[in-house]
């Protein structure tokens, strides 16, 4: 009996010693990291960011667990990130809406991007203009010509007025001197795809990731892409820029932490993000799931965000003034 209890005591001491381990070594991260995902589970952003986190945690050496806090066009989740403890154990994902829609429309009272610092941007999906494969519109010129002939008749889908897929078309319509009929499908890109398939709308303006399933199934064709340069995956698809319209649009997915996280920790997070982004696994995962690989570091993201806000807020102001968008 005595030996058993002695053995037991020994086990206890040893395990206690092991459990104290983190006190001695103080390398960040020492515990699991919480990742706030501001969109619904199973959605496009959720799927992509969860995949990224799976590879990211291998670089960081700690588990990352994702919590979905959806609502208010991603505002609620990001808001929670803003008010989280700045200890480096809470990170969050941001998308276009978190940067533009939520602050511009004032969806949440205390929401301000100044409360965050960016770690990195890990995907950038250019916006594309898509048509049904059987439709009469084969090129961008067809579309512009048709819109010139019948102003306000050509129907283009988006997922919400003033939102991420509506503004590019406003941009194009101003530059080309035409007018489209903008149809919102609040159910998301799934509904947009369906409407395009059923020929309910003539065109769809969406992320290249959203268009991917239809393009792969040869049910739809991309007429134009709104990136700076042609994409390697779609070498035949022209950019709007080369067609003479200075319209570069896309949706990004970034990682951020609360403002006061100390620089050393942010550097560890950023370095790991860079390594993850460069990894083969992540690249091949993205390729199979719609592409959009990019890497922009924290400072670069901050600059990009400021530029984006400046450009889009001005456009939104005009739209609100003209009554096309409600604020």
């Amino acid at each position: 009996m005595k030996t058993v209890s002695r053995l037991f005591a020994l086990i206890c001491i040893v395990s206690l010693a092991f459990s104290l381990n983190p006190v001695f070594g103080s390398d960040y991260p020492e515990k699991d990291i919480k990742h706030i995902m501001p969109w619904a589970a199973g959605g496009g952003t959720d799927t992509v960011m969860r995949a990224f986190m799976k590879y990211y945690e291998q670089e960081l050496g700690r588990k990352i667990y994702t919590v979905n806090v959806k609502g208010a066009k991603s505002g609620l989740g990001v808001n929670e990130l803003m008010s989280s403890a700045a200890d480096g154990y809470t990170i969050g994902s941001l998308t276009y809406d978190s940067i533009v829609t939520v602050p511009y429309f004032g969806l949440l009272k205390n929401y301000s991007l100044d409360k965050l610092q960016f770690v990195a941007t890990v995907t950038m999906h250019p916006t594309v203009l898509v048509a049904n494969a059987d439709s009469p519109y084969k090129t961008l010129e067809d579309v512009i010509a048709a819109a010139k002939k019948a102003p306000g008749k050509l129907q283009v889908s988006n997922v919400g007025l003033g939102g991420v897929w509506h503004l590019p078309m406003i941009d194009l319509q101003q530059q080309a001197g035409v007018k489209f009929d903008h149809i919102a499908f609040a159910g998301g890109s799934g509904e947009q795809r369906e409407a395009l398939l059923k020929r309910e709308t003539d065109l769809a303006c969406m992320s290249i990731g959203g268009a991917f399933p239809l393009v792969k199934a040869k049910k739809a064709v991309i007429l134009a892409i709104m990136s700076e340069e042609r994409l390697a995956e779609y070498p035949d698809v022209p950019t709007l820029k080369e067609k003479g319209y200075d319209a570069v649009w896309g949706s990004l997915r970034s990682i951020a932490v609360p403002k006061d996280v100390d620089a050393a920790k942010v550097k560890i997070l950023a370095d790991a993000a860079q390594k993850t982004a460069a990894s083969k696994q992540w690249k091949s995962w993205l390729e199979k799931n719609g592409g959009g690989w990019t890497f922009i570091d924290g400072a670069g993201t901050q600059k990009y965000v400021e530029q984006l806000q400046k450009k889009v807020f001005k456009q939104l102001d005009e739209l609100v003034a003209s009554g096309d968008v409600k604020k």
Binding site: A40, G42, V69, A72, K73, L107, A186, A195, E200
Partner: protein, 504 residues
């Protein structure tokens, strides 16, 4: 439908998930006050971490088990476990009083199996065609279909039409809270940050089915075991569950087919539900029967018709959900929730892109009915124990699980508060005979109702005739009008007359 989908059940754990789902559904269906909807909503947070196929198959088991389970307690002690079982109870408890509970149980499960399997076969053969057809089914048509679902469920589930309308509108109003999906403007939030995100489906389900039911139980006098056994007539009833040849002959082959078709078609019709399927099949069978005098006094034919139909309804109900993304009732709405959680979007593309997920799920509808009969032969003699479960212990446990599940799914304490408030309000309303099903369906269908209306309006430039110009939409609107006439005007009058007659 390939044989592969069959094999997958027996090569993996899927069959275990299916059986587990079935028994959970059966238990929740059989215990009065618990529902299959509640069972699925308790399970929903768990499905985050499950393989999508396992989650779906479990839901199918719960759905079918719940519908069947509702009849069992009804037959034994005259308390229907679920509204779908009302007809089965009417006939079944008569048999129990005559000491023939085993006959009632035998035919309720045998017919459930036949109905379920025929319904599943119909679905498997038709889904591809409906799915192709759905490519022609545009936004205005969707609007009319959702409108019909809302109206029909309101008509069927409410005794007092005014209260039904109020309940439906309450559901629609709750759904409108939150940020406008088209314009990014907060609506009906009264400046409260916490409800800017709107009220969530899971919160409503937990409030309506778990919390409200607990208040209900607190307010009612529990049945004692002695009374239950007395009601069951324990001394007289035996347990010989084999359906006899002469009984099957009495029911007749065509009766099964007829009831299956009725049930299946009622299932496709969103909003109608299992109770409607059973009632219709029962009425039709009575019309065809040679022994009309037995109806209402313990007719096996009546049980067979009702149970065949309400089980054939289940696979039918999945069709509009898979092809149009329009759930017809609470259970299919939650199954739709599982779909979206895993990033599967219903619609015409689903059958092309996700055949490997949908296929086995449909096969599950074919396998579960067999479980019904197997479980009767294995456990049938213990069914009487189910209503003996101590519900005073059960309910706090369920409330606890529901709240934890809700928290796990949303990580939000606010949602728990919402669920408690909604639960209390629903309890007060249902005590005053306001129906809960139209309320829930109003809430579930509200957002897609609004979206399809507003998108249709955008497409037509504000022209309301868009709903009359499409043949499908026009047909559905006319059908809705016919439903309103028959269910809302004719039926109450007929019931009134019948009542007057019996009073004289």
């Amino acid at each position: 439908m390939s044989f592969e989908y069959f094999k997958i059940f027996f090569e993996s754990w899927l069959i275990v998930y299916l059986a587990m789902g079935y028994f959970i559904g059966f238990f929740f269906g059989a215990v009065p006050g618990l529902t299959a909807t509640l069972a699925i909503s308790l399970l929903l947070p768990l499905t985050f971490g499950m393989e999508v196929l396992a989650a779906l198959v479990t839901c199918v088991g719960i759905f079918v088990g719940g519908i069947y389970g509702g009849g069992v307690t009804g037959i034994l002690i005259n308390i229907p476990g679920a509204p779908a079982a009302a007809i089965t109870v009417l006939e079944g408890y008569q048999l129990t009083q005559q000491g023939k509970a085993d006959r009632a149980l035998s035919h309720s499960s045998f017919s459930s199996m036949i109905g379920g399997m025929i319904g599943a076969l119909f679905t498997i053969f038709l889904i591809q065609y409906v799915s192709e057809f759905s490519l022609y089914f545009k936004t205005p048509d969707k609007f009319s279909l959702i409108l019909m679902a809302i109206v029909v469920s309101m008509l069927i589930n409410s005794k007092d039409m005014m209260k039904g309308i109020i309940a439906t509108l309450l559901g629609l109003m709750l759904a409108a809270i939150g940020i406008d999906t088209f314009d990014a403007v907060p609506r009906m939030s009264f400046g409260i940050e916490n409800i800017r995100e709107g009220v969530q489906l899971l919160t409503i389900v937990v409030g309506t089915f778990a919390i409200a039911e607990i208040f209900n139980q607190l307010a009612s006098i529990p049945l004692r075991a002695k009374d239950i056994l007395e009601k069951f007539n324990a001394n007289q009833n035996k347990f010989d569950f084999k359906p006899r040849r002469e009984e099957l002959k009495e029911i007749g082959f065509w009766s099964y087919v007829r009831s299956s078709v009725i049930g299946f078609l009622t299932g496709i019709l969103p909003g109608a539900g299992a109770a409607m399927a059973a009632l219709l099949a029962y009425a039709v069978s009575k019309g065809f029967s040679k022994r009309k005098n037995l109806f209402g006094k313990g007719s096996i034919e009546g049980i067979a018709a009702a149970e065949t139909a309400n089980n054939a309804m289940c696979p039918g109900a999945i069709i509009p959900m898979l092809t149009f993304g329009i759930p017809g009732d609470a259970v299919t709405a939650l199954i739709l929730g599982v779909f979206t959680l895993h990033g599967l979007v219903p619609g015409p593309m689903l059958m092309i892109e996700q055949a490997d997920t949908v296929g086995p799920m449909l096969i599950a509808f074919l396998i579960t009915p067999v479980l019904i009969v197997i479980s009767l032969f294995l456990f049938g003699r213990y069914y009487i124990k189910i209503p003996l479960v101590n519900r005073q212990l059960l309910y706090p446990f369920i409330a606890f699980t529901a709240m934890i599940g809700l928290y796990a799914a949303t990580f939000s304490l606010v949602q728990l508060v919402h669920a408690a408030i909604i639960g209390f309000v629903i309890f007060l309303l249902s005590a005053r005979n306001y129906p809960t099903v139209p309320f829930l369906l109003g809430f579930i269908l509200g957002p897609i109702f609004e979206n399809s209306l507003r998108t249709s309006m955008a497409l037509s430039g504000g022209d309301l005739t868009i709903f009359l110009r499409s043949p499908f939409s026009l047909g559905l609107l006319i059908l809705t009008a016919i439903m309103i006439y028959f269910l809302g005007i004719r039926l109450p009058k007929m019931l009134q007359e019948q009542e007057n007659e019996s009073n004289n």
